[in-house]
Amino acid sequence: MKITIEEIKHVADLARLTFSEEELKSFSQQLNDILTYVDKLGELDTSGIEPTFHAVELDTPYKSDEVHQVITTQESLSNAPEREEDFFVVPRVI
């Protein structure tokens, strides 16, 4: 087993997901198969190889710090699952 049910539950927690017992069982098998497959990369010696995170080399573009309105407050609230006046409503955080 590459990944135990306990580890899966921990990863699910990190990802803010929750699974039923059945889902955990089938996911467990599938995740293990996939993780076993990707272990193939261990065959390669990558010592001294720089990782690539961005395939096309670019300098970081900058722009001047000017205010531009792209969308209005009302537009940004338009898909809110719950709103009150100009606020998004959520369960209490603290």
């Binding site: 889902e23 995740l31 996939i34 497959y37 990558t46 690539t52 096309v56 573009p61 898909n79 209490r92």
Partner: protein
């Protein structure tokens, strides 16, 4: 089947300019075609009939006032991963089932500036994760060449719609092959531009270092026409490059002379057992044709090909789990009911809003990035990515263009690969390296199999050489003479 829907976007555009036909009748023809044929193909998630007719009216006004542009009045379908202002954009997910973007993606803005007509939003695998469109939270799309088979994915709706004449042309997105593979399965043309060639602003992000928007369309000319509009720098996408955009339509004009002496590389790792014989034979026949026309065929090697899938299925999920962490039920999208606190709200929302494949990838990505595993998985994969890029750099020292199959087999049956996600992943083998390297790739039809299924050929080139791909594609297209390629669903 109407004559109007048979015209390519380019042909349509010329007739509209010459006022031989009106924008309204073209839009009407497409809407009728959708109403008749789409119940069988199921490519559209949202059809915007009224909006389309309004846009057709505006388009006609533009033409009448002498301000025609290439896409004025041309009816398009858009993969539902691109934000369209005021029009539901779902990414084929329950998470965004009722999400109405307050802005347009840049590529949409550019087409709207020409008064293109938008017929609606096209089906896809949920959040672009999949190779068959079966991961759509709503329903699968059916391949117009055989309704019991998949159209491919994740841009399956786009490829099916173009193939079945349900739009004149389409935009899709490609992260691991999601334009090229469905284009191949549906017998149409698809291009993934170089990373950074086309703006990703308004493209719902899956894997930010791999995603690109690109055309899915009837032929190479339409592809060039779309590339002319969508390619180019955008200050709203800091990964878009500020390099000049060639006129791709001009580029394909001198295509014939271009082929003489062109070096076409065949990577031996792509012509191995496991590739369906008809696929290999068809691809080789196309290459023979190019050789007859003067191209030089060279065997090359891309030695790290066998590691590409493992590399991709660590990098893409890692980037995805980060991108999809925004779906938390707070500001937009689905929010679950029955939670007692914030943490529960997040977990229930995400557990109910996402489908199984999305959850699988979020889990893989989270694991690969988590403390203790980052070096062994994500960093390792990113190092192998460097090796894959080196393979291509080496290859392009020895050839101008690389030719390969697009998929190991033609389209498989609906349901055939659903039980084994890993099997589904392995079918991406020929398309995936292109995204990892960031180079452009073109997929185009090269044959119809003995079972009546389209087979595609893929060309890859060095960075920002989409014009080279289009030239090769155009010459092949002209010489293959495959005709109108009418899928079975239209032959009733």
């Amino acid at each position: 089947m109407s004559e109007l829907t048979e015209l390519t976007a380019y042909e349509l555009s010329k007739k509209l300019k010459a006022k031989e036909i009106s924008c309204e009748e073209v839009t009407k023809a497409y809407i009728e075609q959708i109403e008749q044929i789409d119940p069988l193909v199921k490519s559209y998630l949202t059809v915007t009939k009224d909006i389309a007719f309004e846009q057709a009216k505006k388009a006609q006004e533009r033409i009448d006032s002498g301000n025609w542009m290439p896409f004025t009045g041309v009816p398009l379908g858009i993969k539902d991963v691109l934000c369209t202002k005021g029009v539901r954009t779902t990414c084929a997910s329950k998470m965004l089932e009722n999400f109405i973007p307050p802005y347009d993606a840049t590529v949409i803005e550019r087409l709207k500036a020409q008064e293109a007509v938008f017929l609606g939003k096209l089906n896809m695998d949920e959040f672009a994760m999949g190779s068959s469109t079966e991961n759509s939270a709503f329903f699968p799309t059916h391949n117009p060449w055989d309704l019991e088979r998949v159209p491919g994915g994740s841009s399956g709706g786009s490829a099916a719609a173009v193939s079945a004449r349900l739009c004149a042309a389409s935009l899709g997105s490609d992260t691991g092959g999601s334009i090229r593979q469905p284009a191949s399965h549906c017998g149409v043309v698809g291009m993934k531009p170089t990373y950074g060639r086309v703006s990703r602003f308004g493209l719902v992000a899956f894997a930010s270092s791999l995603d690109q928007v690109g055309p899915i369309c009837r032929d190479i000319t339409d592809c060039a026409m779309l590339m002319n509009v969508i390619a180019g720098h955008d200050t709203k996408d800091s990964t878009s490059v500020d390099f000049p955009v060639p006129d791709y339509l001009e580029a394909i004009k001198d295509a014939d002379s271009f082929i003489k002496g062109l070096r076409i590389g065949l990577p031996k790792e792509y012509f191995v057992s496991g590739v369906d014989k008809e696929v290999e034979d068809s691809v080789r026949a196309s290459i023979d044709k190019l050789s007859e026309l003067g191209a030089e065929i060279i065997e090359i090697s891309l030695p790290h090909t066998e590691y590409a899938i493992a590399t991709y299925y660590l990098i893409a999920p890692a980037e995805a789990c980060s991108n999809l962490s925004r779906y938390d039920g707070v500001k937009y999208g689905f929010r679950a009911k029955g939670y007692e606190n914030l943490s529960e709200m997040y977990k229930l929302t995400r557990a109910q809003g996402f489908g199984p494949e999305v959850k699988r990838r979020i889990m893989i990505g989270t694991y690969a990035l988590s403390a203790g595993y980052y070096d062994a998985y994500y960093k390792k994969a990113s190092q192998v990515r460097t090796l894959i890029i080196k393979d291509f750099k080496e290859a392009f020292n020895n050839c101008d263009v690389i030719a390969t199959p697009v998929t190991p087999t033609p389209a498989f049956k609906l349901g055939e690969k659903l039980d084994d996600p890993l099997q589904m992943y392995l079918s991406d083998i020929f398309t995936i390296s292109v995204n990892l390297a960031g180079i452009p790739g073109l997929s185009m039809p090269c044959a119809i199999s003995s079972k009546g299924l389209p087979i595609g050929i893929q060309f890859m080139s060095d960075y920002f050489k989409e014009d080279v791909l289009l030239k090769v594609g155009y010459v092949l297209e002209q010489n293959l003479k495959m005709g109108r390629r009418i899928p079975k669903v239209l032959l009733k």
